[in-house]
């Protein structure tokens, strides 16, 4: 390393101002706002929320359709309304929301460096809640070859362009993915006057999008190509077509379009967690937490879709409510036991969250274990194995479907030995 680097490090730690809230929450999406609301209601010290965007509210701000607030607020509202409600509740409860404020580095344990128009801030809090959410993998991360064409967007960019900036997209879109967020993209495209000519999914089961299958097909007449993948983007400077491959036959064909929306394929925004030295769950790529949402660094907690990429906004918000309780007891001096067992999964399950169970710890948020499956399993039997023995088994009545979180009652965990060995979760049909 050059001496320049050292100079940069030294200067980087220089701050205009020091802040010392009781709790700092990173990210003002549903999880962060709800956590801040609950904490501000009961703590005497300051609860500070850092939001790098211009406005608090997170992803729901630009999801301009109904379906928000069901489980946490008992309401059925649009994304932007929901975002506003969460923001108002946090402010009313006395939390400070700092927007255009990005936590960029750690200055020390639990001490964040923040860049904002108000200056470079050093924030030293007694506890930190990481609620930075998740993003969709862009084209490069999905390694889709072809031309460097304009008009290839993630759902996030699409909704930013259309709902926050009133921008326009093309006329004919191919939507890659057929999960919840994909249909959200279709709605946004329709709003922007762009027809979805095809949705593609690598999954084979039509049921993987059962929730939208009938209404989706009826309302939009959108054909879905199952068991296909996009193998090439064609067109310069703008997309003219995509090449798609039938995964079973290997046959390829091109579909004309001027817009490609890449949906799903989420990755947590884990940068700060990793920079702090928090152990990550290699499967979710988010921080590895126990059922009280503690990371392995004392005083650093995590909540929302940074832990489970991704569940719905209301579930993220309820994570926030839960983490607030656990942060309070941490501030009151409670410390976790060092014992605990690791939860692992077997295919077709991709991940489980939370990933650690400690003896005597509270149940996870909403008393649910969150799982992600890569294959559709109708009414599966969830099986927990520990030490080569089946310790719990439960048939559930709902399917495990790709593209959305599969939630299982956490009382299954009552049957494991939290001082024993690794627990493996699997699905039997």
């Amino acid at each position: 390393m050059s001496t320049d680097t050292n100079a940069a490090d030294a200067d980087a730690a220089e701050a205009t101002r020091d802040l010392t809230p009781d709790v700092v929450v990173v990210g003002a999406g549903p999880a962060g706002l709800r956590a801040a609301t609950e904490l501000a209601r009961t703590l005497s010290g300051e609860v500070l929320v850092l939001e790098r965007e211009r406005e608090a509210g997170g992803i729901p701000r630009h999801s301009d359709h109904l379906g928000y607030g069901i489980r946490d607020l008992g309401r059925f509202v649009t994304g932007p309304t929901y975002a506003r409600m969460l923001r108002d509740k946090a402010t009313d409860a006395g939390a400070t929301i700092l927007t255009e404020a990005m936590a960029t580095d750690w200055a020390g344990p639990g001490e964040l460096m923040v860049t904002s128009p108000e200056g470079r801030l050093r924030v030293a809090a007694r506890a930190v809640v990481l609620a930075s959410g998740a993003r969709e993998r862009p084209r490069a991360a999905r390694q889709i070859p072809g031309d460097r064409a304009h008009g290839v967007l993630t759902t996030g960019t699409l909704q930013n362009v259309v709902h926050l900036k009133n921008g326009t997209v093309g006329k004919r879109a191919v939507v890659v993915g057929a999960e919840l967020v994909s249909w959200s993209a279709v709605l946004t495209l329709r709003h922007a006057g762009c027809r979805t000519v095809l949705m593609t999914t690598t999954h084979s089961q039509a049921e993987s999008y059962w929730l939208f299958q009938r209404p989706g097909r009826l309302a939009f007449k959108t054909p879905v190509a199952t068991r296909t993948r996009v193998t090439r983007i064609i067109g310069r400077p703008r997309v003219q077509a995509v090449e798609i491959e039938d995964l079973d036959t290997g046959d390829r064909r091109t579909v004309e379009c001027d817009t490609v929306i890449l949906t799903g394929d989420w990755i947590p925004d884990n940068e700060l967690a990793r920079a702090a030295g928090v152990t990550l769950d290699p499967r979710t790529l988010g921080p590895l937490v126990d059922t009280a949402l503690r990371t392995d660094l004392p005083g650093i907690f995590a909540a929302g879709n940074v832990l489970h990429p991704v569940d719905t906004a209301d579930i993220a918000a309820l994570d926030g409510a839960a983490v607030a309780r656990h942060v309070r007891s941490y501030l009151d001096g409670a410390r976790p036991t060092r014992d605990g067992v690791r939860l692992e999964v077997e295919a077709p399950l991709r991940w489980v969250a939370p990933g650690i169970v400690r003896p005597g710890d509270p149940a996870p948020p909403r008393r649910r274990l969150l799982l992600w499956t890569d294959e559709y399993v109708r009414a599966p039997r969830v099986v927990l194995e520990q030490g080569g023995r089946v310790v719990a088994r439960r048939r559930v009545l709902w399917p495990a479907a790709p593209g959305r979180v599969f939630r299982v009652p956490s009382d299954l965990l009552d049957r494991i030995d939290a001082r024993g060995g690794t627990v493996t979760v699997r699905l039997d049909s």
Binding site: D4, D11, A15, T115, P145, L153, T157, K165
Partner: protein, 477 residues
């Protein structure tokens, strides 16, 4: 921006340099240091839009060039010239060093020859090391390395800032920047040469051809058929910044009979790069990526550094190199037509560019047909905005943010680009004309989300600013 009239009464330049890549910009900058009227002409709407924008961004010592070649001498000299110039202008450079890693006995056997070659190229600082030392210095490379050759001088550099600095310097020295003018034909006459371009004729006494991928076509306009450019596509994969701790040095392949390997290199932006492939094309504009290319890189990467493949890919892109049938640069003067060719400049042109500019100046002086009187009123070299990770960036600079809150407003989260930096590009000597140009000047949208968060915001900022620049330009007319 400098624009020049092209109709009747238009000036006759002393020299027009065709090609505003690194080589052309360096030549224009050098010549603008003399009492000459100079123009820098390019077919594209921005500087550095061709081969210069997508290379491996390594400042080469020239240790592995062909001894005795022009390339060897110019890379060797250019390494020092650009190193000094980078320090003066703030072009990001990190002196990380490189290790050529040998994976089989044939490659181990090639190391002493490479070391001798390095000495012949004026670089005596290499060292042959054993496997244990290779793993000490590169703990994350895959199993099976048998030894290596260290090249401590190899450095990483920002190729974009290099190009902008040289072109900005040229313009501030008085060179006219003539963008968006594709040269379609040439008429050489006694008094002046007329370059016929897509935006009108340009008159000049001398022409320097530094047109990169298009240099053979320009050469043909002067009646030559000396060489042919084959666009050689190099695909590259850029990994997430979280991979950067894996790679402290440039990991180079040892040339062998089996073929050319790929390299792994840190970048000055804090990423890790894997590549390039080498594939000859016919289309001189095809910068797309291919399925085979990406698969090839992944396969190589898995062996070179399996851990790297666990990290996210931030970007994949392809650059085109101007390969010719000659192994050396082709730099020749035709005094009769007042024409100089700087052709066959491969990716080493980044390192050699400034020395090549000196060489060109020397060749022009030798003809005696161009009077080269140094100017004593030259402006200082420009101070370029820092987009490298090794020095303080605006978002980290408490004093700067306190002075101007725009440097505290991060617009591109992944790359930590602020609204102040984006604004500044439009007030620069060569403002961006496209979003791509803005990316190369600031890094905005080059990060891991590729626009998921900031895509719409940056596009809006760009359009507002670009519209303001256009309106201002019209008001001045």
């Amino acid at each position: 921006m400098t624009s020049a009239p092209t109709g009747p009464g238009a000036p006759t330049y002393d020299v027009v340099v065709i090609g505003a890549g690194i080589v052309g910009s360096a030549i224009a900058r050098t010549l603008a240091g003399y009492r000459l009227s100079v123009a820098l002409l390019d077919a594209r709407d921005d500087v550095g839009e061709g081969t210069s924008k997508a290379n491996t961004a390594i400042l080469h010592t020239g240790f592995d060039a062909k001894p005795g070649s022009l390339e060897s001498r110019l890379v060797h000299e250019g390494y020092h010239l650009l190193g000094d110039y980078a320090a003066a202008t703030g072009i990001p450079v990190e002196r990380v060093g490189a290790i050529l890693v040998a994976w089989d006995t044939e490659q181990v056997g090639n190391l002493p020859g490479l070391q001798e070659k390095a000495v012949a190229n004026g670089y005596p600082h290499t060292e042959i090391i054993g496997a244990r030392e290779v793993y000490r210095q590169l703990p994350h490379i895959g199993p099976g390395a048998l030894g290596g050759l260290t090249v401590p001088g190899e450095s990483i550099i920002c190729t974009w800032t290099t190009n902008f600095a040289l072109a900005t310097d040229a313009v501030r020295r008085g060179a006219a920047l003539l963008l968006g003018r594709r040269c379609t034909g040439v008429t050489v006459a006694e008094e002046a040469t007329v370059l016929h371009t897509s935006a009108g004729d340009v008159r000049t006494r001398w022409v320097v051809n530094a047109a990169g991928l298009g240099s053979d076509v320009i050469d043909q306009h002067f009646g030559f058929d000396r060489f042919h450019v084959t666009p050689r596509r190099g695909e590259l994969m850029v990994f997430d910044k979280q991979a950067r701790p894996l790679v402290e040095k440039i990991v180079l392949p040892v040339p062998s009979a089996v073929g050319k390997g790929v390299l792994i290199s840190p970048t000055v932006y804090g990423n890790v790069m894997l590549g390039p492939t080498a594939e000859d094309l016919t289309d001189r504009t095809d910068t797309g990526t291919s399925e085979a290319g990406l698969e090839f890189l992944l396969e190589k990467g898995r062996r070179l550094m399996p851990q790297l493949l666990q990290e996210e890919v931030t970007a994949t892109y392809a650059g085109l190199r101007a390969a010719t049938e000659f192994s050396d640069y082709v730099v020749e003067v035709d005094a009769e037509q007042r024409y100089l060719l700087a052709g066959g400049i491969r990716s080493t042109g980044l390192s050699s560019g400034m020395a090549l500019a000196e060489h060109v100046r020397g060749l022009l002086a030798e003809t005696g047909a161009l009077e080269l009187t140094p100017r004593d009123d030259l402006p200082d070299p420009p101070r370029m905005p820092n987009i490298g990770e090794a020095s303080l960036r605006p978002y980290q600079d408490a004093a700067r943010i306190a002075d101007d809150p725009a440097y505290g407003r991060i617009v591109c989260f992944c790359e930590r680009v602020t609204a102040g930096e984006i604004r500044d590009t439009f007030a620069g000597t060569i403002p961006p004309t496209t979003l791509e140009g803005l990316r190369r000047r600031t890094r905005a949208q080059n990060g891991r989300c590729q626009g998921f968060y900031c895509g719409a915001e940056v596009a809006e900022l760009f359009e507002t600013r670009a519209a303001a620049v256009t309106a201002e330009g019209q008001a001045h007319r």
